[in-house]
């Protein structure tokens, strides 16, 4: 297979600063030559258009099966026929371009920054900003791979829905979509997921970037919905350090990020234990749920640098793929 020229990073050329802040060189350089490979076969629109830098990847033998009339003779394994006088078809792992849907949570709770969040471009990242960076990086990666990438932002409902496309300009569209999104409003992750699952018809890769602040069972059900549709699921679960350790000691007013004028004045000490227990159970539920349905679960603490999160994930994924 002839390998087409590796597409240059689909960064908007006209030096849009917003785009560069969203996808700084730190990330792009770190991504380097990384590739994201789907675990399940994807219904690519253009078969074999994939140009892999690693030859042999795309022609990897999978299995033999008996010939039935109508099969392409090119795939007949003549060697087997010479040895055993039987017709067998050589089957290869199909190379396809993936349809990747990036589901970015834009609910109010994603606006939480926290004192420990990692800095990028000189400011601490809110969970949403973090998710945005991840989404941008992933889009960049997939577009580079010539995969089709779509973007869905949502809060209580789908806010923006960008159909998946593999064209290089898609990156710009996605980045623009990400920039335009301002998180607000409540979270209703599970309901939105069901909605999205119905909308994405072709099976592909669903990457969820969210704090998943909803009922764990409901979320699991929603994820199952994706699974049912034969999507491969990757969950980037974003949590801030404070949300995980609850380090507050003084009497504080907790102002809801999602619902205006909703606040709670409380001595944090009095409920810390209960809160943490609850978070722990929540995280464990989500994680085990993901594990059971074969979804990738990537806990993301916003205190970790974005690149490290990405690199760790890819390293992990490589391990998992073996």
């Amino acid at each position: 297979m002839s390998a087409p020229a590796k597409p240059t990073p689909a960064l908007p050329a006209n030096g849009n600063t917003e785009f560069t802040t969203l996808l700084p060189t730190e990330i792009t350089s770190a991504l380097g030559r990384l590739e994201f490979l789907a675990r399940t076969a994807k219904e690519g629109s253009v078969t074999g258009r994939h140009v892999s830098p690693h030859k042999g990847f795309s022609v990897e033998f999978a299995e033999h099966r008996p010939y039935v009339p109508g099969d392409d003779l090119r795939n007949l394994d003549w060697r087997v026929y010479g040895k055993s006088d039987r017709y067998y078809i050589k089957q290869y792992i199909e190379e396809t371009n993936m349809r990747v849907s990036l589901l970015v949570d834009a609910s109010g709770s994603m606006n939480y920054v926290g004192d420990h969040a990692t800095e990028l471009n000189g400011s601490r990242l809110s969970k949403f900003a973090y998710a945005r960076h991840l989404a941008a990086a992933l889009s960049y990666l997939f577009i580079r791979q010539q995969d089709a990438v779509g973007l869905v932002t949502f809060d209580t409902e789908v806010r923006r829905y960008l159909r998946a496309a593999a064209k290089p300009s898609q990156l710009k569209t996605i980045l623009g979509g990400l920039i335009d999104t301002k998180p607000a409003d409540d979270t209703a992750v599970a309901a939105v997921f069901h909605d999205i699952a119905e909308r994405i018809h072709r099976r592909g890769l669903v990457i969820i970037l969210s704090d998943l602040f909803d009922d764990a069972e409901a979320i699991k059900k929603a994820l199952h919905h994706f699974r049912y549709k034969n999507h491969e699921i990757v969950v980037f679960h974003l949590m801030a350090e404070e949300e995980l350790t609850f380090p507050f000691t003084k009497f504080d007013e907790f102002q809801s990020l999602e619902i205006a004028n909703m606040s709670l004045q409380i001595d944090p000490q009095t409920i810390r234990a209960q809160y943490l227990e609850r978070v722990r159970k929540f995280v464990r539920d989500i994680e085990t749920g993901c594990g059971q349905m074969g979804a990738d679960y990537i806990p993301v603490n916003t205190k970790a640098p974005v690149t490290e999160t990405l690199l760790n994930y890819f390293a992990q994924r490589k391990v998992a793929q073996r």
């Binding site: 709770s109 007013e253 009095t270 810390r272 943490l276 990537i298 992990q316 391990v319």
Partner: protein
Amino acid sequence: MLPKNPLLLFGLLGILIPIIIHLLNRRSSRVIEWGAMDFLFQSLAIRNRRIQLEEALLMAARCLLVGLLAMALVRPFVQPGSAVPWLLVLPTVLLGVVGLGIATTLHNEKKWRRIIAIVSILLLLAAAALIYLERHLNLSRFGAAGATQDIALVIDGSTSMTMENNIDGLTNFERAIEEAKTIVKRAPRGHAFSLIIGGPTPAAKFLVPSSNRADLIEALEAARPLDGPMAAYHSLTLASLGLAQGNNDAKQIIILTDAQNVGWENGETARWSFLSDTFKSLPSEPRVTLRQLRLPDQVRNLALSEITWSREIVGIDRPVEIRVTVENTGNESVTPEAISLEIDGQIYRDESLGQIQPGAIETIRFVHRFSDPGGHAFSAKLEVSDEIVQDDRRDAAINVADVLKVLIIDGHSAPRFFDRAASFTALALAPAESRSAANDEFDPDSTDDGGPSFAQPERFLVEPQVLPIAKILDQGNFDDLDAVILADVPRLPAATAERLLAFVKNGGGLLVAPGQRAEMTFYNAWRDEDGQPLLPAQLGESFVITPLDEPASPSVATFGHPGLRKIADPAQSDFASVNLTGYWPLIIPEKQAAESSVGARLNNGEPFLVSRQFGSGQVIMLDCSLDTSTGNLPTRQSFLPFIHEVVYQLANPSAYDLNLDAGWDVALHLSDHGSAGANQGLRGLYFSDHETKKPTHSRVDPGIDVRWETGSPAPDVPADNFRVEWLGTLQAPITDNYTFDATADDKLEVSLDGKVVFTSGKRPKTLKLEQGKSYAFRAVLHEGGGGAHAQLYWKSKKTPHQIVPASAFRAAPANIGELDPATANLFTVVGPDQLPRQAEIIDTGTGTVARIDGDIISGLYQLKIPPARRAEFSHFLAKDADSIPFTVKRDSAESHLAALDESDFTFLENYVTIGRPETLDDVLTILSGNDFGRELWKYLALGAFFFLLLEIALSRWIARERRTGETIAVDFEANDAPTSAFQEQLARFRSKEQGARSKELGVRS
């Protein structure tokens, strides 16, 4: 409950500290924009109630801690007689404090928060009001606290106070004196003290309150306990008398006592009401502060609680049995070594007493015969080692009677001896030598065995004298006699009847035994000038003759009169065999029912013996005669003791009592009826001319009512040209303006207290005489020639014109001329402590008494009689004795150590305000105008400490509940760690990147 430091009540504001801290803590320091609100809400939802509870508990504990601390600093105390119970006030305060605290923590229940806060504030206000009310009540109760006061210090000088205490070897009395000294020294300036030692008769050392500390201290140091119980009631009365004379308005009585329950007259509502009224009549009602010293719980003690003797009148004719009672008043059994009785230098000793159990009473009998009449003292001693030594000795005195003179008026002078009405009686009273054996046989006192045998008496106690009715006019007055017996006398001449009545009124005894000859009209009409009948009963319509086969006889079972007590035993008495052939029905008129009493009845229910007290004397009336004309009474064996005992009764035994009860004051009654009668009237000195100083004759005249006419007034005095001086005192029966006048031949001059009130031939003067006061009376009659007579009259609005009666006069002593009138009646008394006291001889109108001054303690006293006055009191003087012995009885209750209990105090507090401070410091606090009471601060401080611990424990518990500080890690890392190869790669990448960066930097630089 009252605060000692009321200003520190503001310390309660300290509860604001935890409240403010809480509120400050709750002030939100910052607003955190938070995403995971659901988790917060969910966590809160399950914790909310619990958090509120924890906060409320913690706040309550903190507020209580501060509140209790504040209250401890206020130093509240409970004063006795607190009107508002502290158990109400204190919880109200604390409840208010807790409520405020809790209200602060209720952030989510606005309505409840407000309600609780309001209720708490109301509670606090209510508590403040209660404290104020208490303070107000307390102030009004105790009047001007803080002002200078008159303080009566009453120190209990009773025997129980002199018991040595095991703790420090001090007696309670010594301790009381020390405390009293401290009180006097440390009392604020201006306080004045009167000082009273409480004893059987309280002794005032300083009656009028004095503020001279030095004198008071000196008096305190000189104070000695008074033996016997403390008459607390009397002591308080005396104290109030002293306080009445003080200058300060505020009054107080401080009693230092062991509060033994003897002498408080508990239950005597009338007495205490009186004292209460006395207190209220003072400028301010005194408050009684009772400083109670501890009475020993355990005591080993035997007490001689009583000495009695077998007969009321003891003569020298027969031995007397003396009974000494030993009582164990302690808590352990004691064996005395011996008991001894000393009489007239003779010592009887009895060692028969064994172990005496607590509460047990033993009686030891001694038999003694007195050798001479007069006052005899004797003392019993208990040889034992016990804790109260004073009651191991007991004294008693007996006035041994010399002779009882009895006049028997015989109403039937028959020629045959045994037909005469008085013969049997006379024989019975003065038995022949041979008959005295029979006498002994009926004397229950005589001992059958081992008793000392005595020689036949030289004379008998009773000296009878028979006077036939025909010679009745020969009898002048009856004053030398002890008793008169009317044996079947038909009637008496009016003058004799009147004199006899006066004799009884003055203390003489009269026995009336009417027979068939008695005239009903005379007896029933025998009355004094006020119409008061002399006899206890009226004679009935006619003499009753009993049928021969059914004779009446006295019923022994009904014998109740003290004179019949010895013959009331049917085993020894043959009274049941008395058969009366006739008797007078005795009728007690209803008006007399209170005074007369039936001492014995016949078997048909008719009275046999009726008696009554008339004036100072006694009248006994029988319903039959004392001869054989009305039955066989005189021939019975019992007749002899019967007549003797009746005569003893008539002889007024109480006049011989030398053993006095301690009371408000102690006075010894010295006049028996004989001397009292002799004392009535005027001393008449008869001079044989108008000038001479030395009287020819001296005698007592009943008054000035003489008609000698041409006769001689007295032996050796001429019929003409003589002079009579009547000396003595005059007492008016009622206060009034009296006018004296007289008929006299030749000239009478009367003066009262040296002022002439009447002279013959001049207008009589009118002057006011006060009841109960004695005026020196002097009347001089000059007789020239011719008939001599003198009658002195007086009249007033309430008194008719009458001859001044004998009862208004008291005769001067025979040797009136030789005595100094200022000191004539002041005698010396030596008390049990061998210290001399003064006794004043006072004529009270009903008799002569010696009133004893100085400290009265229980024990034996000797009233010294000056030789010049010996004759007057010879009746009480033993042979060769120069003093009359008498005793003040020890109240044997003093030996029982029991303190006043709460019910006693409840009774007392109905009448007086009693504060009971527990320490001397409290007493001093009261003196400085402050209050005292049970301090509560220690408990409050303890409570505060408890709540401090509780607060700590609670915080810890809450922290544990909230799991503060516990690390609860949320596992939020990727499950599969990247491979080591990747890690290396990553590291390499990073270093490369860094290198590139540094290169970049290097280029730039």
